[in-house]
Subunit: 461 residues, 2 copies
Amino acid sequence: MYALDRLVAPEIGELLAQRRFDQLRAALLEFEPADIAELVDNLEQDQAALVFRLLPRDLATDVFSYLDSDQQQNLIAHLGTERVAALINELDPDDRTALLEEMPAEVAQRLIALLTPAERSVTQSILGYPEESVGRLMTPDYVRVKPEWTIAHAMDHIRRYGRDAETVNVIYVVDEVGALIDDLRIRQFLLADPQQTVESIMDRKVRALAATDDREEAVRQMQHYDRVALPVVDSRGILVGIVTADDVADVAEEEATEDIQKMGGMEALDVPYLDTGFVPLLRKRGGWLSVLFLGEMLTATAMGYFEGEISKAVVLALFIPLIISSGGNAGSQACSLIIRAMALGEIKLGEWMRVLLREVASGLALGALLGAIGVARIVFWPARAKLYGEHYLLVAATVSISLIGVVTFGTIAGSMLPFILRRLGFDPAAASAPFVATLVDVTGLVIYFSVAALMLHGTLL
Amino acid sequence: MYALDRLVAPEIGELLAQRRFDQLRAALLEFEPADIAELVDNLEQDQAALVFRLLPRDLATDVFSYLDSDQQQNLIAHLGTERVAALINELDPDDRTALLEEMPAEVAQRLIALLTPAERSVTQSILGYPEESVGRLMTPDYVRVKPEWTIAHAMDHIRRYGRDAETVNVIYVVDEVGALIDDLRIRQFLLADPQQTVESIMDRKVRALAATDDREEAVRQMQHYDRVALPVVDSRGILVGIVTADDVADVAEEEATEDIQKMGGMEALDVPYLDTGFVPLLRKRGGWLSVLFLGEMLTATAMGYFEGEISKAVVLALFIPLIISSGGNAGSQACSLIIRAMALGEIKLGEWMRVLLREVASGLALGALLGAIGVARIVFWPARAKLYGEHYLLVAATVSISLIGVVTFGTIAGSMLPFILRRLGFDPAAASAPFVATLVDVTGLVIYFSVAALMLHGTLL
C-alpha cells in the first residue's frame, strides 16, 4: 500500500545515483509526506540529506515531522545552521517537543537557542511539564472563540487563524480570562445560522485533560469520548493547548509496545527493535535475565534440600520440569489477562478480591484438568511399571495432586502480582511471564516434594 | 475524570430507588453520552432499561452506541419492538454493524427485519464483507462533492448533507461514476475563495483502503498518514464508505489485547476479562494449557532417557530447573520483541536472516553472562564441596556451557517461531512465552545432559 517504499524506491535510488535531481524532485512531489519520510528513513545519511534538500520548504517541514528520530538527528547534523533554524521554527510545537525529547541535551540546547523568542517561549513552557505528561503532547496552535460572538464573526476568525492551527475540526470557546467553557465541532458552526451567537450552540459539556495528567489519561479519555482532539487546561482551568487523535494513537501504540516488552521479561526499548543498538539491546535484556537467573537459583537451593529424596526415588526427578512449567504457564495466562485488563481500565485496584476468587476457582479447575491428563499418561502408558516402578499409582497420585497445587498457585501468583506491583506504585506490566514462572518454579518444587513426602512415605521415600 | 461513574453514580442510584424520574432525567442530561453509557453499563438489567427509557430519543441512540454488547443485548430484549426498531434504524451504520456482529444469529436476523429497506440494504452490503475486514468497519455516511463545483456550491452541499454524515472534517471528491479522486480537509474549503472550483484546491494525492483489506491495514494506514478518516473503495475504485479514527483506535486496542492474551499462552477473549463467563474463560485457557502440557510431557520422556545419569550424579538434577528456565526466559524476551515489531510492521518476513544473526549473537552473549554468574555461584559458594561434590569445577563448567547453549537455543526459537508461524499463515502472536518455554525445556534437557555426558565422562558419569 505504501507505494513509494515498495515500488518506487529502486527508481528513486537510480535517479539519485545519476544525480538527476530535477526528475527526482518531480517524482517525490507525487507522494504524501509520510511516504517521502519512509523513503528518506531508509536512505544512507548523506543521501538522506541530499534528498531532503531537494524538497520545497513547507513539504520538507512536513516530511521531517514523520521521520525516525535517528534520521532527524542525522539531518540536523548535515544541514546548515540556517536551514536547521528555519526547519525547527516551522515545526509544529508538538512535533518539535518530540524531536527535542529525543536529542542529546547539548544538541537540544543548541536547537532551542535557534528558535525565535515567541517559539522558544512556547517550547520551554511545554518542556516545563513532566516527561510522559499530557503537557508534553499538546500543541498550543488551536482556534478559540468567545461565547458572545456571532457565528459569522467566529467563522471569520476561524478562516483567519485556521491556517496555522493543528486542527479546525474542533473549535474551543473561552471566557475573557482564557478559561475553557466549551468545545464545538466545526460542523456545528457550518450548520448554524450566521446571525446566531456562539453561546446559542453551546451545551457547556466539555471534558478537558489537565496538563500534568499522565499521557495514558489522554489515551483513556480519547477512547472513552471518541474525540478527534481534547482540550488541555492548567490548574486554574485556563486552556493551554490541545492534544489530537494522531498523537494519542502514537502514545497508545507505544504504551502497548512497552507493556508487551515488559511482559516478555525485559526493559522496554525506546526505539524499534532493528534500530536498537546491539549493546543497549543486551543491556535491556541482560539486566532482567540476570535478576531472574538469581531468583531461579533458589530452585537449585530448594532442590538441594530434596537431594536425599531424589537419590531414593529418581522417578520423582522425571516430573520436575513438567510440573513447574505447568504452573508457570498457568501463571503466564493469568498475568497477561490481568495486566491487559488493568491497562484498559477494565479492572480497578479495589477489585482484587473478585479476581482472586475467580482465579482460585480457575486454577483448581485447570489444575484438575492437567492432573487428569497426567494420571492418564502414567496409568495408561505401556511401559509404566518399567519406567515409573511398581508404585506407579502412587507416583501418578503425587503428580496429579502436585499439579493441582502448582497450577492453582501459578494462577494466584500471576493474577495477584500485578495488583501488588500497582499497589506499591510499580508498573503492573513488570509482572512478566518469566517473573511469574520463576516465582512458581521455586514454590512448585516445594509443593511437589511436600506432596511426595506425604504420599510416598513408607514406599518410595 | 469520568465524573458520572465515580461521584454521581450513588446519587443516581438513590433517585432511581426513590423513583424520582424527572430529577433523574435532568441529572443525566448534564453528562456526555459516553458517561451515561458507563453508568448504564454498571446497572442491573431492569434498572438499565428504566434509565434508558428516560433518555430523549436522539441521546438514547448516542448512548446506546457506547454501551457494552451485553447491555445492548439486554436492552433489546427489554425494550418494545417499536422502540427497538426506531433505535436500530437511527444507529450509525458502523455502530449497527458492530451490534449485529455481537448478537446471536437469530436475534440479528430479527433486527435486520426491523430495518427500513434503505437501511437494510446498507447494512446487508456492509455485512457482506468478510469478518475483520475494513468493509465491516466503514460507514457510508460521508459527504462527497464533484471537482467542477465551486467552493460555494460545495459548502452549501456540506451544510445540507453534513448533519447526517459521520464526519465533515474530511470531504471526498468523486467523479461522475463515484470513483474516488481526492480527499480534502474541511479547512481547505474554509480557507478557499468561494468562487474557486473544488478542482483548484485538489492535489489528487489520496490513499484509500480496499473494503476487503484486513482491518489491521486500516490501523497501519491511519498511523502512517496521521488522518482522522480514510476513504474505502471497492475493487473498481468506487468510494463505498469511510473509516474514522475512533473506530480504528478501537481496532488497534483490540488487536493489541488479542496479541497480549495469545502471547500469554491462551486463546484471545472476545469480551473483557470480568465479563467473560467462567466456562468460556476456562475453555480459552484450558485448551492451550493442555496442549502445552502434552508438549511438556516430552520432558518426562527425555528425563527418562537420562535416569541412569541422574541416579549416578544426583547433583545434575539440582540445576535442571535453573537451566531450562533460563532458556525459556531468554526465548520469552526474544518472541515478545519480534511479535510486537512484526505487528507494528517494523520487521518484514524477508528480514528473518538479519534477525537470526542478531539473536544468535545476543543469545551467545546473554548465555555467557548467565554462565559466568552460574560459575561464580558454584565456585564461590561456601559449602560448594559438600553440596556439589569434589568435582564441583567440572559441574560448574557443565552448567555454564549448558547455559550458553540453552539460552542461545531459546533466543533462536523465540525469535524464529513468529517468522515460521507467519510464513505458514498463522498469527505470529501464537508464539507465546509458554509455547517457546515448552520447546526450550525439552531441547534444554537434551543439551544439558549431552554436555554433562561429555564433560563428566570418567568422573561423575
